[in-house]
């Protein structure tokens, strides 16, 4: 009796797992609107930064086309999209910029505006922020 119960228990677990694997849950990348969505978010963010007095100076010497390309790739990769991030690592990019905590959070606010403008729901915004948050230690005060 017990063995039978154990067998059916494992069978149920197995079925649950395969069911999970086959009905492919949309990735965060999909929820952000896929390629078009991520492109738009990055475009909005570049516009936000361009109009921003507080943090524009960090980007003044960056090449916009390269920044755009790398950021799209980075957001795509970090949200489980079909990309691999090929840009420089976070520490190398930000060393010497001495970005402080306040400016970092200001960029987060601009990213939220950019997602807001693209109509990304609050709960999806938080999921992208959650994946980006651990990068902060490789960005500020370097």
């Amino acid at each position: 009796m017990f063995t039978k119960f154990r067998y059916s228990f494992f069978m149920a677990c197995y079925l649950a797992l395969t069911a999970c694997a086959s009905t492919s849950e949309p990735t965060l990348y999909n929820k952000l609107g896929g390629e078009q969505g991520v492109n738009n978010i990055v475009e909005n963010l570049i516009r936000e930064i361009g109009q921003d007095e507080q943090i524009f100076h960090y980007f003044a010497e960056a090449r916009v086309s390269r920044f755009r390309e790398n950021l799209i790739e980075h957001f795509c990769a970090i949200s489980d999209g079909p990309c691999q991030y090929t840009g420089d690592n976070m520490v190398d990019i930000h060393t010497g910029m001495n970005i402080n905590e306040s400016d970092f959070n200001h960029l987060v606010d601009l990213l939220i505006n950019a997602m807001e403008a693209e109509g990304i729901p609050h709960r999806i915004q938080n999921q992208l922020l959650a994946r980006l948050a651990p990068l902060r230690e490789n960005i500020i005060y370097l």
Partner: protein, 276 residues
Amino acid sequence: MRLILFLLTVLLTSQLYAADGKLIATPGISQIEGTGGGGFVPWAQLAGYGSRDEIAANVFCSGANVDDYDLRVCGAQATFYDRIEFSVAKQKFHVDTLDLDIKQRVLGVKARLYGDIVYSRFPQISLGIQHKKLDDPTVAFLLGADDDSGTDIYLSASKLHLGAIAGYNWLWNVTARSTEANQTGLLGFGNAANGNQRETVLEASTAILFGRHLALGIEYRQKPDNLDLKEDDWSNIFVAWFPNKVISVTAAWLDLGDIAGAKSQKGAYFSVTGYF
């Protein structure tokens, strides 16, 4: 009228200078003893929006109205470089049945020991003290308290988990407080017959942020019972609104249990904090 003037002053002054280096809503509000926190519970976050390069100053007023008592508190905090917070609060506790006011002053200091509520891997940890003194100890001594002043020491841990609950941000805070206060000090400290009875109590808050500007949460504060008056633990359910980094408005429903023989004290709470 006084509230309107207060709000206007906050809005006008903060146009001139405001620390705004933290993400909106993350510093929380001002708790009844003046410390940055929730409503009852001191949190690990330091008060105000100052980042580690900024100084923040905040003012607040809160009012609670339960069946047989009401409490008015106003106070201020100054936080330096997101490392150390100083606070002051003046409380006026009105006892309806006796028609008298009990006044208490609280001075607080809190230091951030580790972490950042949003970004660090482990929760933010802070250590703080609250030194309390009654203006007039008559009621406290009448009820058998040992002292008219006392110092609480507390250790708090808190964390905001981004997108953690169905995509909403989730905040929790746990505080351990060593105290000898009766009803947070309003009824004095310790018991004259048994001497000072320092005890460690636990307090906790948790909230879900529905959007960037709105938090809905609950709090629990364990309390000692030095005076053998069946002092109950406190709890509340609150909604806090952060329209911008200049002001926050909080409303809550309180359940304070029995207070000095008056049964089951429940009522409303309202609090406004202005951030500079």
